[in-house]
């Protein structure tokens, strides 16, 4: 589904990604771990097409299409979803209105007619329940005055509503208490189908207790230094990242 080859990307002419290779198949869950500043979030932003990052080398194929050739909204319409590490607030626009606008934008790109507010409300009800929210969240402005945990849940709500093919979760677990973490993890697991894939960017292995990854990758200094099964995450939790560094240097 996703094939990243020798990806180099920089921001403000500082190179952050220095040759990332990553292959994700449908039905898989991948975890990307690594120390601060290793490029995890950059990789997530580049996949989604953030204009602040420049890709200087390499390629990304998504469902056989050249992802780098697509505008951010085209990627979203094609099923690429990024759960943001720091979701921004949109003043004066209610969550409900925003969600419907997003769904209808995606529908329009598929030649489908837009959902009216009543039809949409039906779709929303069950999704809301899944993350333990009631209707009142729909009338609140998007992320405005939301707590850190509420913002993260809101990302998962959007994901549940948009049903992406490739979901990239950028540190969705950080800032969540243990109950919220469980709710979020359950919601993510529920969305798993044989046809879609998830990339989890995380610092901590605790999320992986709830969402078991097929593969774990360790990103160090802009490159994937090591890949392995779920045990690799446990090893990282126990030993830290330092033991991996020399291997990058050696590579």
């Amino acid at each position: 589904m996703l094939e990243v080859r020798n990806l180099h990307a920089s921001v403000d002419s500082r190179e952050i990604l220095k040759g990332v290779d990553l292959k994700v198949n449908a039905g898989e869950i991948h975890a990307i771990m690594g120390p601060n500043g290793s490029g995890k979030s950059t990789l997530a932003q580049v996949l989604a097409g953030h204009p602040a990052y420049t890709v200087t080398e390499g390629s990304i194929l998504y469902q056989g299409r050249d992802l780098l050739d697509m505008e951010p909204e085209e990627r979203a319409q094609a099923g690429v979803f990024l759960a943001f590490q720091y979701p921004v607030a949109i003043r004066g626009i209610t969550n409900g209105y925003f969600l419907r606008a997003a769904v209808n934008a995606v529908r329009a790109s598929q030649g489908l007619s837009g959902l009216d507010p009543l039809d949409f409300l039906d779709v929303l009800q069950e999704k809301l329940k899944a993350i333990g929210w009631d209707d009142s969240f729909l009338s609140r402005p998007v992320n405005d005055g939301f707590s850190g945990g509420e913002k993260k849940r809101n990302e998962i709500l959007q994901m549940a509503v948009l049903q992406p093919t490739l979901a990239i979760l950028d540190e969705t677990d950080s800032g969540l208490d243990i109950d919220a973490l469980r709710t979020v993890a359950e919601a993510v697991s529920k969305l798993r189908t044989p046809g879609n894939a998830t990339v989890l960017v995380t610092h901590y292995q605790r999320l992986l207790n709830y969402i078991v990854p097929d593969l774990v990758h360790v990103l160090v200094d802009g490159r994937i230094a090591r890949s392995g099964g779920k045990d690799l995450a446990l090893e990282l939790e126990a030993r830290g990242y330092d033991w991996i560094r020399p291997e990058v240097a050696a590579a």
């Binding site: 989604a48 097409g49 953030h50 204009p51 602040a52 505008e71 951010p72 909204e73 990627r75 979203a76 319409q77 979803f81 990024l82 943001f84 979701p87 921004v88 949109i90 003043r91 004066g92 626009i93 925003f98 606008a101 997003a102 769904v103 934008a105 995606v106 790109s109 402005p141 959007q158 948009l162």
Partner: protein, 479 residues
């Protein structure tokens, strides 16, 4: 999405920029007592009106143009302007069938319903073309309720006592340079009188269209709500695209007596000039309401997207005890537009209350200034003001400026002021695009959210129009 590509964007063409090819009865350019006598004569005015005009003119001649506003423009040659332009025929019109079809067509094209068959439900319209009112709808329906809604030139002839009593009572003939000019040469505008206890059965609306070249439009609007009366008034405006700058110096006066309410909404869409700053309307306007009676209320809502330069401060004099003044504003400056706009709230009566919500949006090379005065006089015990001034910047070539003046002379006053400046962020736009929205829809959504507190004060039809206008004005300002 970077500032350079914002810069590279082309702006949406002005939609209302067409010219109506029509023969005009044009007064010679220039301003002197002769011009004023000519205008007064064309309007068939009584002697007192002419004298009032001349008094204003003599005052104006002694005044100097104010230069304190945060706007830059070449000096205006007041002798090069035509102060009167009317579509021919110039005889008094008694019905729509006598109006030049081209003029009617103009208003149709602008979406202004001047024929009652195509009426907008519940709105009576006065359509002003250059210097004259060409059609006022629903006069009969309104007069059954005792409401007088007429072009001001007719009101001067038909209701001289009312006009004489109130004209200049809120904005005196010598109030400021542009108000004095208007008092001398005003040509048309609307007059509305809502008698005691009457809730105006229709919304009243005036649409102003400048068409002729090298002319100015100087309209005068006067609205009086008697005790317990209430009215909603809507005003819209547009002008053709021309390379020259045209002057629009209007005066609006509102008077609310005991327990009366006036809500005045404006959508101002005068031609803003092109992206190089060529052409566009100079919109130098004095708008003021007087809450003369107890418990009276005057509310101004404005959406300003047009004009090359805007200089206007719709304000309220809160004279009656417990009276309420409100000002809700969205001002957009794009291209090379400059706006210096805000409000004045003068608290005189006890327990008077005012609310100011100002939203300034600057894009391209627009310069947006909020200038507001809140004055609490000595006798205004228990006065309260809440002010909120928010600025939004799109791109990095535009500017936002805020000048709030606060003058409190009574220690019981409660004042609250909030201000914010935000830059429409790459991150905000990216967030919405990542959810599938196109860049321009993302900008529209962010801007609509930013303006929400003002839009919800607008009447329904206006709110929709305002939102569309805003998206058009900003289209292409962010890629």
């Amino acid at each position: 999405m970077t500032s350079t590509s914002i810069e590279a964007q082309v702006l949406q063409p002005y939609k209302y920029g067409f010219v109506t090819d029509i023969e005009s009865d044009l007064a010679p350019a220039g301003l002197n007592e002769g011009t004023i006598r000519l205008i007064s004569e064309k309007k068939g005015e009584p002697q007192w009106m002419l004298e009032w005009r001349l008094k204003a003119f003599r005052q104006w001649a002694k005044m100097t143009e104010p230069r304190w506003a945060n706007v830059k423009y070449e000096p205006i040659d007041y002798q090069a302007i035509h102060y009167y332009a009317a579509p021919k025929p110039k005889k008094a019109l008694s019905g729509l069938d006598e109006v030049d079809p081209k003029v009617l067509e103009t208003f149709e094209k602008l979406g202004i319903p001047v024929s009652e068959q195509k009426r907008l439900a519940g709105v009576a319209v006065d359509a002003v073309f250059d210097s004259v009112s060409v059609a006022t709808t629903f006069k009969e329906t309104l007069s059954e309720a005792g409401v007088i809604f007429l072009p001001v030139s007719e009101a001067i002839r038909e209701h001289p006592d009312l006009v004489r009593r109130w004209l200049g009572s809120v904005v005196p003939h010598n109030d400021n340079f542009f108000a004095a000019l208007n008092s001398a040469v005003f040509t048309d505008g609307s007059f509305a009188y809502i008698p005691k206890g009457v809730r105006c059965p229709l919304e009243l609306s005036t649409y102003f269209r400048i068409n002729a070249q090298s002319t100015g439009q100087f309209e005068r609007t006067l609205i009086i709500a008697e005790e317990g009366a209430s009215v909603n008034y809507l005003e819209g405006c547009s002008a053709p695209m021309r390379d020259e700058n045209q002057l629009h110096a209007a005066v609006v006066e509102l008077v609310a007596l005991d327990n009366a309410t006036i809500r005045y909404s404006t959508i101002q869409n005068w031609y803003p000039g092109d992206e190089h700053g060529r052409g566009g309307i100079y919109n130098f306007v004095t708008k003021r309401g007087k809450c003369l009676g107890r418990n009276s209320k005057i509310s101004w809502t404005q959406v300003e997207t047009g004009s090359a330069i805007t200089w206007k401060y719709p304000g309220c004099i809160l004279q009656g005890d417990n009276s309420v003044g409100e000002f809700y504003s969205v001002a957009v400056t794009s291209r090379r537009q400059q706006a210096d706009t805000g409000t004045k709230m003068i608290h005189i009566g006890k327990n008077t209350k005012s609310t100011i919500v100002s939203k300034g949006i600057s894009a391209a090379r627009g310069q947006n200034t909020y200038r507001g005065l809140v004055k609490i006089m000595k006798g205004a015990d228990g006065a309260r003001n809440y002010s909120q001034c928010d600025s939004m910047l799109i791109g990095d070539q535009c500017g936002a400026h805020t000048f709030p003046y606060i003058d409190v002379r009574n220690s019981t006053a409660i004042m609250e002021h909030e201000a914010s400046t935000s830059k429409i962020g790459e991150d905000q736009i990216f967030y919405l695009r990542q959810r599938g929205l196109k860049a321009e829809d993302a900008v529209s959504m962010i801007v609509a959210g930013f303006c929400k507190e003002v839009f919800r004060e607008l009447p329904m039809e206006f709110a929709v129009e305002a939102q569309n206008l805003l998206s058009i004005s900003l289209e292409g300002s962010v890629g």
